[in-house]
Symmetry: C3
């Protein structure tokens, strides 16, 4: 890593944060390998994972600042999903299919309900007339992508629930569905990136080599920490007596994915409503329409495959979430009440999964 | 009751109506206590209850005319739900949980489909271009509130239907859900009342003391009549051979709640589209997001508790109603065809419950 | 048929096409009556049916050109559904209830997803800014009609699935629902035809007598071919080993109904977005809110009656399709990505039914 660029580019606080993340990641590794109590090792891995998610996001931002906001946004959410990707992969290889599935769904729900809701509360509180405003195109596109994903998940779910003939071919249908979803996402992405007419201003404070190196180191570290995180998850679940569903929907989802989107809340607070909604919404649609189908295809290499077959409660939660966030954000305005409504839905969902 | 104010303020027709309501209420009491045939006693109690709902609504209007339209509207629907509140409470204490639940859902559906549909038919018929117009904010807020309530109800319903672990904690989840709903409703209410910028014109024709006295008398009478109404309901159901569901969804819902909203239809006919929609929509969202959760919490004091666990058919009816009235009213316009569509949905629903 | 009008009015290509359709229809009849292999006879009947659907559509257009676009559009989709009507009727009389039901649902889904999606792809590709534009009223009315039909279908489906008391009265509820749907459709139709303020320009190239004769001949031929088509369907299904659901949703739906709507795709390509959406959307709402209830009532004369009770997978597919096409078309704009999304949904649906 070229020292002079780091010295020039990184602010003291950022340098400090990177150092802390590195230290916690190393500590998490030691605790895992030395067989520390599950709860301690798991907590360290969770904090390290959230920190690495932030590091990946930060390094991507430094790369992305060379491009316009749309390219930057997509780049960020794509690489930002790297830790989540590793967690699900390691969970699948460890046979923790429920955790893998629920952490994916949890990412969608935590971002669409909790993070977006808090961003609306922040944005509306800081707006003079109590209404946070943003472009209508992205929320509506996200609603379309989410509804397409929900369509496949629901068809598979109903087929399994009614135990009809198609239910014996869930794997084949999931593969077809995954390919279809990836095609739609690619079509959307091309149109979205083309619409990015705003000229790119190079505000990167790190050289390309430094950014790429940081990204590579953080990515590799995220892979290691993900493995430790998943390995410590089972003893932690047993120890705390919580449900797998709660672990996936709340703990893994927030540690692996939602923390990085806290930036969306601070953007809303700074009255940058459009960018805030872009960061959070892109993350939601990407997990649902890109990461999920990609992992379905990747999982074909494993013993435990990931399909679109989910428990009824998550299907319904996804369907209603897709409808409600479309209803709330489709008009390009959000109030305090609408933000509170989204947050409350996540609380209820967490309460239900706690009892599962 | 100060005579001079009543003489000054009440029109002859209103005075007559109040007298009739009083007489019917007394008659209903006598019939109940003297053990008249169930059908007669029940009919008298139903008419008295509808009359008292109108009286409460009228007295509240006299109090509310001192404030702007938003305060007035909320005050009216809150106190106007008093008879409904008593009926559900007495039904629960009599162990009639199905009637309690279905009368709450019936209130939502009768107002959202039947009353709103008839208001649209009236409003569109009287409009020059066949389109009734109204503000878009309230219909969309109502859709949000209704969808939040439906989210909780559906999650609980799916959990119960799939008999998973959370289904053994329906009561706890309902309590959390009820608190969440009340918080969202309160957040909405504060924002809605603040938006009431129209200056209040004092058009009250009754003094505050007279209005409050009328309100108090009508409220107490509503409590008594509700008890007789519920007591006569079971023998009437057995006598007529109708289903509990039909009794709750149609008879109790219309007698206890929908009659007062007939005022919404007459407002639409008088080309006051905004106020018509406000009265009806406020009633819908209030029953779903305030009265229902409030009664869930109140019912903790009873042997038979009220939860958000409903039969699948009502869950689906609520979900589709929430979606359809959002689809129809979200654009701030309603045609004859859209009004007819809503009325027809209520007819189908009533037909299905008749066979339950 | 008056020769001079045909000579004047028909272009060479059209005359040739009509001749081919006639020849194929006769060939289909011979193959069926002479006991040709099922696959050959079925294919001939399918091609003849699609050709007759086009012929009916063409003749109706010649009649309809005397009226404004709304009358013309409704006339076309009504008579254009004639082949579909015959197919369902013959399927019911042959006891093929699953084929009858799935071909109706397949008509709705093939038009709403496949044909509309392809029209959007064509229209967006030919638009300068990649966005195809059209009026918002019709898509929203279609969404309302579709949601009303889905409401009835879903209520019946949930009742049957939960095996409650109403599930023993599916026939009675279907009759009430059918009458309700027809009333709503009639109310909508009156308003829609009245709104047709554009002056009618008589662009018909065929005399009224010639058009009516062509229509009558094509209609009668469609009835015959439908019977052969249905008769050859069962041996073809057995021969190919495909599911009844796939035969209904894909093969019958496309041959009996969707082919004629290909005109919608070519209209979108010619940048006539409004007319394209009108042709396709009218077809969707008419099958759902007119043809389906009409056939429910007609089927009362048969041993095997048609009801609104469908398999759960079709209920969910219809519900989600209604929501998604409203979400995509409600704003009067469609992009390439949205067209691709709709096409992909049909592909997934076809894949699922293939495995049923």
């Amino acid at each position: 890593m070229p020292d002079e660029v780091v010295r020039e580019g990184l602010r003291g606080r950022e340098f400090g944060l990177l150092a802390v993340v590195g230290a916690v990641a190393i500590a998490a590794g030691c605790l895992h390998l030395l067989g520390a109590p599950a709860l301690v090792a798991f907590s360290a891995a969770a904090v390290a994972l959230a920190g690495l998610a932030w590091t990946v996001s930060f390094a991507t931002e430094q790369v992305g600042e060379r491009y316009g906001p749309a390219v930057n946004g997509v780049l960020q959410s794509t690489l930002g999903n790297l830790p989540e990707f590793f967690v699900v992969l390691f969970a699948l290889s460890a046979g923790e299919v429920v955790v893998a599935q629920t952490s994916l769904i949890g990412s969608v729900l935590a971002n669409a309900l909790l993070v977006l809701g808090l961003a609306f509360v922040a944005g509306a509180a800081r707006s003079e007339d109590g209404i946070m405003r943003f472009g209508r195109r992205l929320p509506n596109d996200t609603a379309t992508l989410l509804l397409i994903a929900v369509f496949i998940i629901t068809l598979v779910g109903v087929s399994v629930a009614s135990n009809d003939r198609a239910s014996h071919h869930v794997k084949a249908i999931s593969i077809i569905g995954a390919c279809c979803l990836l095609i739609v996402y690619a079509t959307w992405l091309v149109g979205y990136l083309r619409s990015d007419t705003e000229p790119a201003r190079d505000r990167a404070r790190l050289g390309l080599l430094a950014s790429a190196s940081l990204l590579a180191v953080a990515g590799v570290a995220a892979a290691f920490v993900s493995e430790w995180f998943v390995a410590e998850l089972r003893p932690t679940i047993d120890r705390l007596g919580i449900s797998e569903a709660f672990a996936g929907i709340v703990i893994v989802a927030i540690a692996g994915n939602a923390v990085e989107n806290v930036v969306g809340i601070s953007l809303a607070w700074k009255r940058r409503g459009d960018l805030a909604v872009s960061v959070i919404k892109n993350s939601v649609s990407q997990v649902a329409a890109f990461l999920f189908p990609l992992l379905v295809l990747c999982s074909l290499a494993f013993t435990h495959t990931l399909t679109f077959s989910l428990a009824p409660i998550y299907i319904v939660a996804l369907l209603l979430t897709a409808i409600i966030i479309w209803q709330i954000t489709g008009d390009g305005e959000a109030t305090l009440f609408e933000g509170a409504a989204l947050v409350v839905l996540y609380v209820i969902l967490a309460a239900v999964t706690l009892y599962e």
